[in-house]
Symmetry: D2
Subunit: 308 residues, 4 copies
């Protein structure tokens, strides 16, 4: 049983020695930054993740820290993102997921806090206008609500608006509950089919959209099966038994524990409604800084909460 994760760094952990994968870890301002580059087709297959760059920012205590400390993480997001952005042209932020499902609402919450400027070029004061990069943003909703694939809608909009790149925001599923709300993954590989909390069916990539797609994701849930599997794994390892020899038995047990008639069970912090708001704010601050490098942090705070 392959337990699902949307985090490249967790895939890497599961598959320690693979050629074609480089990774390095930096530490600054209390944030751990893990850079993973998947370089070959072979590594792609081994990790189940496409070739490209994956930057993971971790800050375990971030959600209990002060607003000032959270701004630190926002700045790290901004910096990591800046290296992946095209130098010129309008940018489109796409918030994925279902606004009506708390753990899947991260994308649409970030879109609500974005500093949207693309339509402002003609109206703002000239000095400010000269410093704005054009940004538009949309949260298209999920298939069950619209009757349309997200990818289909985004393709149509991208063809009209022709941004230089798309930045897609999504809630992820992780392998380790300690990752929930504490880890940000930024990648230039776009959104893969089947990823995300809500199992969005199709991908959003350079291949499908015709423009570079940068994806930013934060784990909001782990699947309940993970918790059961972890408990069993620890028990076996304490007993000196190898997990690999008991895989089938474990899968059977996990199935019996987590099967319900209610759809998949997810494990999530009790306070997830509040946490998703805080994480959305960190990401929006980070995005606004990266997308508007000629505005000061103060100007961004002012404009993003007061409108232009």
């Amino acid at each position: 049983m392959q337990i699902r994760t949307d985090l490249a760094m967790e895939s890497r952990d599961c598959a320690a020695e693979i050629s074609g994968v480089t990774s390095r870890t930096l530490r600054h301002d209390g944030v751990e930054e893990i850079q993973v580059v998947i370089e070959t087709e072979e590594a792609e297959r081994a990790l189940g993740k496409p070739r490209g760059k994956y930057i993971t920012l971790c800050h375990p205590g971030i959600l209990h820290d002060s607003a000032a400390d959270r701004m630190t993480l926002a700045r790290c997001v901004s910096q990591a993102l800046t290296g992946l952005l095209p130098p010129f042209g309008d940018l489109m932020v796409v918030g994925l997921g279902n606004r009506h499902v708390t753990a899947d609402a991260l994308g649409s919450r970030v879109v609500e806090d974005m500093l949207v400027t693309r339509h402002m070029k003609a109206v703002s004061d000239a000095e400010l206008r000269g410093r704005l990069r054009g940004v538009c943003a949309v949260a298209p909703g999920v298939l069950g609500i619209t009757g349309m694939e997200t990818a289909e809608m985004v393709q149509g909009i991208v063809e009209k608006v022709r941004p230089a790149a798309v930045i897609a925001i999504d809630a992820l599923a992780a392998r380790d509950s300690g990752r929930i709300c504490t880890t940000v993954q930024i990648t230039d590989t776009g959104i893969q089919p089947g990823s995300g909390v809500g199992n969005h069916r199709r991908g959003l990539t350079k291949d499908t959209l015709g423009v570079p797609v940068i994806a930013i994701g934060v784990p909001m849930v782990v699947y309940a099966a993970v918790i059961a599997r972890d408990a069993l794994g620890l028990l076996l390892s304490d007993a000196g038994l190898a997990e690999t020899e008991h895989e089938e038995a474990m899968d059977g047990l996990i199935d019996r524990v987590t099967k319900t008639g209610l759809g998949e069970l997810v494990v999530t912090p009790r306070e997830v409604d509040e946490l998703v708001g805080r994480v959305a704010r960190i990401l929006a601050d980070g995005l606004n800084m990266a997308l508007q490098p000629r505005l000061s942090e103060e100007e961004i705070q002012l404009l993003s909460h007061d409108g232009l």
Copy 2:
């Protein structure tokens, strides 16, 4: 001063004798149905409304009536709409307006109650599947929030999804406060530039989208200037004076009364938050019936509130 109205029947009232306009009034089930057809370019200019059919359904007491009586109006909406729909092909419902502004949220509220079926063709049971018409729905949001023109986004999506027609839902501004929440206008002319509560800037018409556009609108506000003007008009008429001779003076007075620094003042019922929900439900019921003629009313109620 031209006081703005989005209702063709109000335009017609202002301009009684124009050739090229035909209208007739029916009455059934407590509903007054006014059909206006604007046939010539001359009539188009005189009324400030494009050539086409306008069906207006009025039911003054509808909002205080029982759920059963409201279903009567939903059936009238369904019937009027049915005559304008193409016989085959998928349909796309587009909810216009700003979800975050109560009086402008009608379109997105209707979208939330639509029976969305386009993605269901492969999964439902065969008998039911055979009776479903493909419907998709989207509420793209307004320019100030997305940085993109609604028309731009809808064009892009329509080009991908290729529906047989678009049905656009919008909150309107009327001339007469008695029209608020009691009148439904259905037209095959689409959405005109500058119409709607929120002054959406561009139109959604067959010309811009390449497919027929049916627009459904309900007045949610009148502009405050209307109230001032009405009071003055009555006073003049009571005094035996002709309104037309005092236009300029009146405009000056109205300006002094209604000019504030807060943007346009609108007149709206105090209970507008609740009313918009009721009207949205009537429209969604009417649309679901017209769009799914091979489902019974019971099936529609069941499916639209429980999901498929």
Copy 3:
């Protein structure tokens, strides 16, 4: 390690043979009804639940069934509740929990759908008025938001309003994930200290409020530790080992698996936002029927969604 449950029937299951506990199981209309009566102080201690009646209604498939079938469960709720209500006097419905936390919002969602009539005695038409029982409703919020204990606020309001009984609605934590959203517990023992999804600290009982308190609860989460424990228990039992001999080791493992910095992890269906709305509607329908026995089901539907 005592895994927490708010369901008396789960406590009973854990402690099979206790004198002073009677229980019987009925089956009707697809609903399983378990009646547990805790009669002695000894049984109270053994089960960790106060003396009184506990009626548990289970309908595993209820959330996937039709609206008509859901009305069946609402009728069962109504019937069970009717037997516990005082024959005369106004009733107060209290929705517990935190409106801003999805899994804890059940109480406040039910309050929103209640047919509130206490203030209507003077204004409705005489015939209808004669058939209405006075009902008021409040969702006071949680300590962290108000700075006041829920019990403190409810006490103050009850002393002013002097209802004949209080009916408290709460989201529960269960021991078995199969109970989530499929089980309704109704008891005349009130709300116990420390129960509920959000660990409300004080109780709401006849002792604290001075009037009978009927509590209605539905499990919305199980704690993540439960999933880990279940997996381990199954493994041990498959290996022919007794769970009781390995308790300490299991507790250690569970702790290592479920400890995070984010507060307690809960296991919940991915679609909990939608499910809480459906459950709230079933409870509100059941309550409205029990509290207004002289109204027909049609009148209740009409009045509760259209206002009086």
Copy 4:
């Protein structure tokens, strides 16, 4: 016809020369502060407002100004409020109005942003704890939703919690549309029966609650009749006619213009949903500063958005 206003300064304007009323006007930081004291029973009757202090803060451009400028108004609110607070004891903030009606939601929105500390005395760190004043907050909802008078509920809660004073927040109706969202009235006379956007029926005063009641209100609407009346008044005055001689005729005209079947029509800015959020934030900032004088502005910002 007495056109209704909840602002004492507007009552004063209508009745220029009354003994027993003193008023003075200050100007600082772009804010106009009008202090009205109603000292005698005679003045009370003439103005239709009870004896006491009324401080009105006006800043016409406030809503278009920067966040920094809005903080200026928050500081003025804090200063005016500080002079009316009892020196010791816990304080209770009561948000009046209907959360589900945008123009009436101000009170409950302010409550959501309050720094609530009463329950924190035992848990915070000692140094911070020593500097906190105990504050609790509640938004009890309106009669039509709860079946209970707001005054009844607040009385009950006050008797349990025994705060040193109540601070009640309410949305007001004004006489002049220029006052909407630009004027804050602070008074030590409490909430008067019949005031507020939603016509709350009973008062909240020292007489009814047994503790001092400070009321803070901001106009969110004017009634549509006001706009009609203003237009007529201007017309008459331009024509050299005295308004007083045509009162009856005017009332008849206004009635014909503004009478609809939808309940009272109100005039409100089209962007009222957004404006109510901005005003709520200004008031919450001002209240938090006044209620926690030993915290710095930075600490208040941090604590009120991150929790304690």
